[in-house]
Structure formats: C-alpha cells, structure tokens
C-alpha cells in the first residue's frame, strides 16, 4: 500500500499545484515533495533487508489478460525510490530563485515526472513498467521543449523520437515474452507479471534477440555509446531542473531496466553478448571523458562526464558480478547526488554571470568560500576520491569489471585519470585564476542555495563513509538476481 501511495502522492500534489496560482506553485510543490520524502523515509526504515518484494499492491487492470496494476519494493527498487524522493524536493528548491513562467504547469510536470519515476522503479507488471517508462517521457519532454534554451525544439524532438524509437523494441520484446508466459488459470492464458517473464526460459538464439531489443531501449535511455548523441544537446538545452531530472534520476531507468529485465530474462543472451555490451560501455567511458576534456560550455562538459559515468555503471551491471551490480546501485545514488549538485552549481554560476563559457569565468573562489567548498565536495565525489560517495561506487564497479575481464577493467579504470583531467580543468578555469568582468561581483550562496547543497554534501560523505547502510539493503535482492543469471 505504501508503494501505491508513493506513486499517488506526487500525482495528487501535481493536481494541487495545477489549481494553485503561479506565484505559490513552488511552495505547494515543495510541500508535496517533502511529504513524499517523508513517506519514502518511512519505507526505508521499515524495509526488511531480505530478497522479498515488500509493501506490495496488486489490482486487476486487464484481468482477463493477466495484466495487473501491481507493484512493490525490493532492495533494488528501494534505493532508486529513495533517490527519487530525495532529489525531487531539492530540484524543486533549486528553482526558488529562478522565476519560471507558467509556474503551476512547470511544477506540476516535475511532480508528474516524479510519479512516473516512482512507477517505473516499483512496477511489478511488465506492461505497467512500460507504461510508466513511456509516461516519464512526457513531462520531461514538455519541460525541455517549453522552458528550454534556444535550440530546444530541434533538440527535444530528437530526444523524443530517439527514446520512443528505442522503447518500441522493448515493447515488441515484452509482447513476445508475454505470449510465452504460462497463464494464471485456465481462463487467463498469460501473465505479464515480471516474475512470470522470468520463468519463460527461451532458447539461446531467441534470448539473443530479446537481449538486443531490451539493450537498444535501455542503452538509449542511459545512454550507452553509440546511442548517446541525443544526450549532450538535451542536457545542455533543457532548463536546469529538467537536466537534473534527466541526469540525476531518469537515466537510472535504463540501468534499472537492465537489472530488472535484461539480466534475469535473457541470461543466455547475456552470456553471448555481455562482452559486446561492456565493450560499448567502456568505449563510452573513454570517449565521453576525452570529449569532456576540451569542452568550453560547462553544462555540456558535465553532460559528457555524466555519459562517461553511466558507461561505467552499465559495464558493472553487464559484468554480472556481485561487486559490479552492487557498485552500480551505489553509483546510481552517488551519481544522482553529484550530478544534480554539479548542475546546480552550474546554474548558480550561470544565473550570476549569464555565461557558461569556461573561458569567460575565473577567480570566482575569491568571493565565494561557501560555493567553493560545496563545488569542491561535489567534484571530489565525482572524481571518486575515497571517503566520498563516488569512490565506493567506482571501486566496486571497477573491481566488478576487472573480475569480468582484466583488460576491460583496466581501460574502464582510465575514468579515474580522465575524470580528474576534465573536472580539475573545469574547477580551475571557473574558480581559480584572476577574476573576469563577469565574475567580478559574484555573490556567495543564498540561504535557499545552501539548503539545496548541504543535504547533497551530507549524502556525499554519508555514502562515502558508511556505504554499508545501503549495500546491506540491496545485497539480498542482488544475490537473488545473480542466481537467476548464473543458473
């Protein structure tokens, strides 16, 4: 029941925001997301660390076809639910100094987005998952297309078509799998419960096809090389709250999808193709990192770095090792926190200087000790310095990939060098050196800005110092999953 509430509360909040006036919309949205966070914390506390799905709900949807409106939370879902519930209020709060026209609609879309994300991460029925997976696209599309930058129409159109195109492959696979399932009873010939899909047991060749259908869908979402070309433009052109949603949470739908569908449903497909998938992921890590090195637009730079980071998460998941999958889960949280923080810092810089060009900035640190410290903390998390969140994730991910294949692990490890190259360049050019005409009167953080960055910084260190509070919750579910893969 709690799970259903997690999906419903954002919807109700969105409706409430829609009927409030524009100038108080953000406060209502804030209350709604905080309420949701409280609920998620309650779920987090009462969650039993075992492999079962908890807080489940199930209602008939198209009962005669065995399609249910059903959901629940296991350890894997829990982390992503927590991530979504934690980041959304901060994303809402991050907009407090920035007036958006048609604010009611703007915040309602963010809340609809949250509902869809919650749905994706908790759905227990394959078609329900698909529904939410696609539904999440709608609010983000409008957020980007209406409130975005100059090239928003062209860019968001590409994004939309690209991801829809990928999802169609998944739909085909789901429908095919659905027709292979055993029914619940004589009158209901099939079932679309995700667990029913797990029992389908196709031969290796068919699993190969299933593998690719899912892979394309999820690879576009994350994105994995070479399906990433929509991403830098979309991240750069979207308004920053939408970029935060995209990079902080939405890309995790892809990783989550691989864990929930690809691994357990097509283990033989994985056996045949996981090396290919990891190679593509690792190419993405290096490719994205190298491009980030010379970027001038700091938002685009972080977009490419996000692309590189997600490559490592994907590689960890495809390695099908405990370290790799656990690392991917921790890194999904860590990356969400760091990337939302970084995009916020970029927004702070942009809102004060009207520039995102690294060459026009500089010397900001001289006037902003607080911003400098928070920026540095997020940077350290992002370059995986030990005792920050990024280290735990990357350490486990790289050790997982290394366990899968030493050479791939070594190449993937270049991320710790290249990441330092582009992030330190960014930091140096923006924060250090002499002041420019744009940064001369740079004001330090306001109260609401600190209120966004402080929780993020706390999480950077919490996960860095005591990751076991999360790893212990997910391990039973991950073990369960890996047993299905290595049966």
């Amino acid at each position: 029941m709690l799970t259903l509430l997690l999906i419903l509360i954002p919807v109700l909040s969105a409706l409430a925001v829609l009927i409030t006036k524009n100038n108080s919309a953000k406060q209502v949205a804030m209350v709604g997301t905080l309420f949701e966070l409280g609920l998620a914390v309650a779920v987090f506390i009462s969650f039993e660390p075992n492999a079962t799905q908890q807080f489940g709900f199930s209602y008939p949807w198209i009962a005669s076809a065995g399609i249910m409106f059903a959901g629940g939370i296991d350890g894997i879902s829990l982390l992503l639910v927590m991530l979504t519930a934690f980041l959304t209020p901060l994303i809402v709060l991050s907009t407090f100094r920035q007036p958006y026209k048609n604010a009611s609609t703007f915040y309602a879309l963010i809340l609809f987005m949250q509902a869809a994300l919650m749905g994706v991460f908790t759905a227990a029925d394959a078609f329900l998952f698909y529904l939410f997976f696609e539904a999440a696209l709608i609010p983000i599309y409008f957020l980007a297309a209406v409130w975005g930058g100059e090239n928003r129409i062209k860019v968001t159109f590409k994004f939309f078509v690209y991801t829809i195109f990928g999802s169609l492959f998944m739909l085909v696979a789901l429908v095919y799998l659905y027709f292979q399932t055993a029914g619940l009873s004589a009158t209901v010939p099939h079932s679309s419960a995700i667990t029913a899909l797990y029992k389908v047991g196709l031969d290796a060749q068919k699993q190969g096809w299933i593998f690719w259908a899912f892979f394309v869908a999820f690879a576009i979402k994350m994105p994995i090389f070479p399906f990433h070309t929509w991403q830098p433009d979309t991240y750069t052109e979207s308004p920053t709250p939408a970029t935060m949603l995209l990079a902080g949470i939405m890309l995790k739908m892809g990783v989550y999808g691989v864990l929930r569908f690809l691994l357990p449903i097509a283990p033989l497909g994985m056996e045949a193709w996981s090396t290919t998938a990891i190679v593509l992921s690792v190419v993405g890590i290096v490719y994205g990192s190298i491009i980030a090195i010379q970027q001038r637009d700091i938002k685009r730079l972080v977009a490419y770095s996000s692309f590189a980071h997600v490559g490592l998460m994907a590689a960890g998941v495809f390695s099908q090792t405990l370290n790799g999958v656990q690392g991917a889960l921790i890194q999904m949280i860590a990356h969400g926190i760091n990337v939302v923080g970084l995009f916020f810092v970029i927004e702070i810089i942009f809102s004060r200087t009207k520039s995102r060009n690294i060459e026009q900035l500089g010397g900001i640190t001289q006037r902003t000790p607080q911003l400098t410290v928070y920026f540095m903390i997020l940077l350290l998390g992002s370059v995986a310095l030990p005792l920050t969140n990024g280290f735990v994730g990357e350490f486990l991910l790289l050790s997982g990939v290394y366990e899968f294949n030493k050479w791939l692990g070594t190449v993937a490890g270049l991320t710790i060098i290249l990441g330092a190259v582009y992030m330190l360049r960014l930091f140096q050019k923006a924060m250090f050196g002499g002041k420019s005409s744009l940064t001369e009167h740079f004001a330090d953080l306001s109260l609401s800005e600190r209120a966004v960055l402080l929780p993020l910084a706390i999480m950077v260190f919490w996960i860095g110092l005591y990751p076991n509070s999360f790893l212990k919750l997910t391990e039973p579910a991950v073990n369960n999953l890996l047993q299905m893969v290595h049966y």
Partner: protein, 639 residues
Amino acid sequence: MNLLLLIPLLPLVGFLINGIGFKHIPKSLVGVIGSVGPVVAFILSIYAFGAFRAGNNAPVIIQLFDWITVGTLNISFSFQIDQLSLLMLLVVTGVGSLIHIYSIGYMSHDAGFGKFFAFLNLFLFFMLLLVMGSNYVIMFIGWEGVGLCSYLLIGFWNKVTNYNNAARKAFIMNRIGDLGFLLGIFLIIQTFGTVEYLPVFEKAVGMSVGDSAIAAITLLLFVGAMGKSAQIPLYTWLPDAMAGPTPVSALIHAATMVTAGIYMVVRSNVLYALAPDTLEIVAIIGLATALMAASIGLFQNDIKKVLAYSTVSQLGYMFMALGVAAYSSAMFHVITHAFFKALLFLGAGSVIHAMSDEQDIRNMGGLRKKLPITFLTFLIATIAISGIPPFAGFFSKDEILAHVYEHNKLMWALGVLGSIMTSFYMFRLLFLTFFGDFRGTHEQAHHLHESPISMTLPLMVLAVLSVVGGFMNVPHVLGGHSALATFMDPLFANAQRANPALFEHGHLDHSTEYLLMGVSVGAALLAMGAAYVLFISKKNVPAADGQESGLQKVIYNKYYVDEFYEAIFVNPMRKLSDALYSFGEFIVDGLVKGAGGLVKLSSGQLRQLQTGETGFYVFAMVVGITALLLWNFGAIIFK
C-alpha cells in the same frame, strides 16, 4: 576508547575548526589550533611506541567498523599498529609538528592563514590514515587524500595560473599511479580474497617465488609508488610542486607524502620478496631516477628546485635499497632524509623569507652573516645529505650502498657517482647562497633579517636530529647494534620464510665495509672540494638563463622531458578531444541514424510512422500516452 584513535582524529578536528571557522577565529588562535593537534598526536605516538615496545612486539589491530561489505569481501575501517606504522607515525607527527610551528611564523602575513592550517591538518589526517590503516584500501584512502591536500596546497595561491597548473599536474600524474595501485588492489582481492595485510601476507608465504599473480600485483603497486614517490617516468610533477608555500614543500614534498611509496613497498615486503623480477625493476628505476634527478640538480638555480630534484634523487636511493631487499635500510633513509630534507626546505624558506620572496641563488650570496642560525642549520643538513660522517645521512646512505654492492657492483659504482653529484649540488647551493658577496638588490639587502623564533626553533631541532639521527642504526662494524634494523626485524619474518634465498648473502667482511665507506666519504669530500674551488675560490656564478650551451643546456632544461610529455600525451589528447567532438560525434550520430533508418525502411509497420507528418506524430503520441495514463489511473482511483 583507544587513545590511538586520537592520533588521526586530532588533526581532523583541527581541520574542521580552522576550515569551517576560519573567517571568525582570530589569527593568533589559528596557528595554535592548527599546531596543537599534531603536537598532541606526536606525544601520543611516543606513548604508543613505548607501550608497543613494552608489549610482545606483535601487531595490534584496532577495528573501528565495517566500511564496505560485498559478499565475502569485507573492507574494514581499522588500524594496524606495528613497528612500521609506529616509525612512520613518529616521523609524520614529529616532523609535522615542527613544520606546523614553523608555519606560524612563515605564513603569518598571508591572507589565507587559516585555510593554510586547515589544509595542513587535513594532510596530516590523511597521511596518518595512510600509515595506520590495516589494509590496502585504507592505505588507498590516505594515498589519494594526501594527493588531494598536495593539490590544494600546491595551488594554495590560486590566483596564479602557473601554480594552478602545477597543482593539477601533480594530481593527474598521481592519479595515473593511483590507477596502478587500484588495479593492484583488485588483483589482491582476486588472489587472496581479502585486502587485510595480515591474512594477505600469511597466505602469500605459502606461494612460490616468481608467482605470476604476485609479480603483477607488485608491479601494479609499484606504479602507484612511481606516482606518489616521483620516480621515472612519473616524477615531473614534484619539481613543479615547489609552487606551493615552502612549509608544504618541506612536509609533503620532502619529508612525508613522497615517502609513501617506500612505506607501501616495505609494508608489502612479503609480496616483493616473492617477485625478484619486480625487485630488479624497482632497483633499476630507483637508480636511474637517482642519477637523472641528481644530474638535473647540478645546474638548477632556484633554491627550491635544487632541493626538489635532490628529493627525487634521494627517493631513488630508497627505491634502490628496496630493490635489493634492504627494506630496513630504505626505512632508515626515509627517517634521516625526513630530518635533513625538511631542514633544508625550512632553511630555504627562511632564506626566501629574508630575501623578500627571492628564490634564485644567483641573486643571493653571503647570507651567512645576516642569517646565522639558518646558515648553521643549513650547513648541518648539507653535510648530512652529502653523506659525511658522523651526520645522519652518512649512516643511512652508506648502508644502502653496502647492500647495493652485495647485489651488483656496477649499481654500487653508479650509486657512488650519484652521491658525488649530491654532494656537489648541495655544496654548490650552500656556497652560492651563504658565501661570497651579496648579489641581490639593494632593497633586498636592506630587508635581510634572521627569521623569528617560531621558524628558527624547528630548524634547530631538525639540525640536532640531522646530526644524531644516524646513531639510531649504527652498524656492527662501527661498534653499534643496528638498533633500528633489529627493531624492524619482525616485519620481515614472513618475507624471510617465503624467500629465504633473497636474504642469504655472504656478509661483507669488515675490511670491505671500511673500504666502501672510505670510497663514498672520499667521493663526497672530493665533490665538496670541487664545489669549493668553483664557487668560493673562483667565485663563479651560474650563467643567466638562455646562456647555457650543449649538454649543460639539455640538463638545465631537465632533458626536455616535460616538453616530450606535452608533445606525445597532452597535445594529442587535446587534439583527439576536439576531433571526437567535432567529427566523431557527427559520424556516430550519422551511423546510428542511418542504421535506424534501415530498420525503419525494412519494417513495414515502422515505415508508416516515418511517412506521417512528424509534428502530428509527436502530438498524437503524447496525447495517446497521456490518455492511456489517465485512463489507467482513473480506472484504479474511481473504481
């Protein structure tokens, strides 16, 4: 609570207080707050040392909590107190305390006084984690943490782009090494199933000499050491790191952080004992680094650059010692080097302070009268590093050379050549700085003054240590008891069990030992004499920049290694980045679109999507999905 936990904790608290409150804490308190932590940590270290010696000499493990647990792999946050960590603790907190106190005077005029102490404390915290950790991952925390502090402190004056570049270079080169370290840890996990020192070493004893996994582990770990301890090919960051304030150069880039690589190899001595090929590589790289850096040091004119290359060179000697499995000799040199090199840097700082930030020795000269304490202590350190008895450097360097002689006579000869160069560049530096006539500006001459007591006191303490430090390990041949080596012996018990042959060499007879000592001392004195003739008798002053020629020019320009790296790594990487962004992305996009188009064309169903009007298509899609969504929610909510 265990008192030992306070040792890393106190500097961390100091960091937090000065770091968070540096706008509000009065300047007079900042230095005290910053220095109390290290001093108390030093006292606690002495206490720990005493308690350990009173005990049964077995390692003490202090378990704090399980940090990262995945499946059977458990990385615990815990400390290990044994001979090695205690020695490092004493050096790090002892020299660290002195340098903190020195900084109160040295940095007093700096606007970032509080920030400086905060960073210095943070460095100490990470350095203490590095040496106290009971497993490789805790060591790695410290390892990367000190790298971060090094970055922050090299770029301390962050308005200056060159300093920032030096800081970034240091961090990135260290990261290259860190990747090696990290991969080494992964291989340790695969081979042993744990990262804790004691079980890893226990299991390693049963493995055969030359085992390929061990060889790979030791090589990968050594890559980490190359970065942190500035060995060929990852040494070029260290001379640039002199951009940081001088106390930083003394503490981080001479006495402590850069010796982390040696600490790591000594810690892993069992593994290295099982990998003779790796040891040979370590010895050769150490020797090559020692010689190359010393030769560059011969021609440098920046007082800190000379000392920086000297540090690189001395680190090379330490690795040479490790390479011939003279582990305790390497540690001995780590300790004595910490004394005299910290002293040299602090002395240089005192000179720079007096000279109004001048660092070029061509503009100095004759300072001994105006800076008597600095001069005297600098002289002691110079004698110590040159290996002239009975000062500290003589004992430790001589011990290394004796072991190298047993291993390979050619290496020994080259090692002696290195110590000739060491003696020469050090006395050149001493003579040019403190003797002859003053060559600076009138302005500088007017301001010349001896430093305040907070700066000279640490100089005097370190000078005493540089004189007597060698006596902690006087060899039997000179009537001593090799006390340090005996103390450290239990550390190498496993290594001796694993590869007894490595440690079985015919002991040198006394006459050979005397002869070796005589040769190296004679060589050092000769080099000193040469420097005396050139720079005092003949009053030579090095040529102005750009007037060098031939080989001298090549060496003065550091063999153009930086330019070489720039040309084959840095620039191509930048070009590749630009190329991938401008062409690569375009091509990838085109290919994927093309492939997508093919799929569309071949699929009748999808072709229809393409022929429709795109704007309408998107609209229909959105409306459809929204309707579906609402319908579903409606069905559930209103049922």
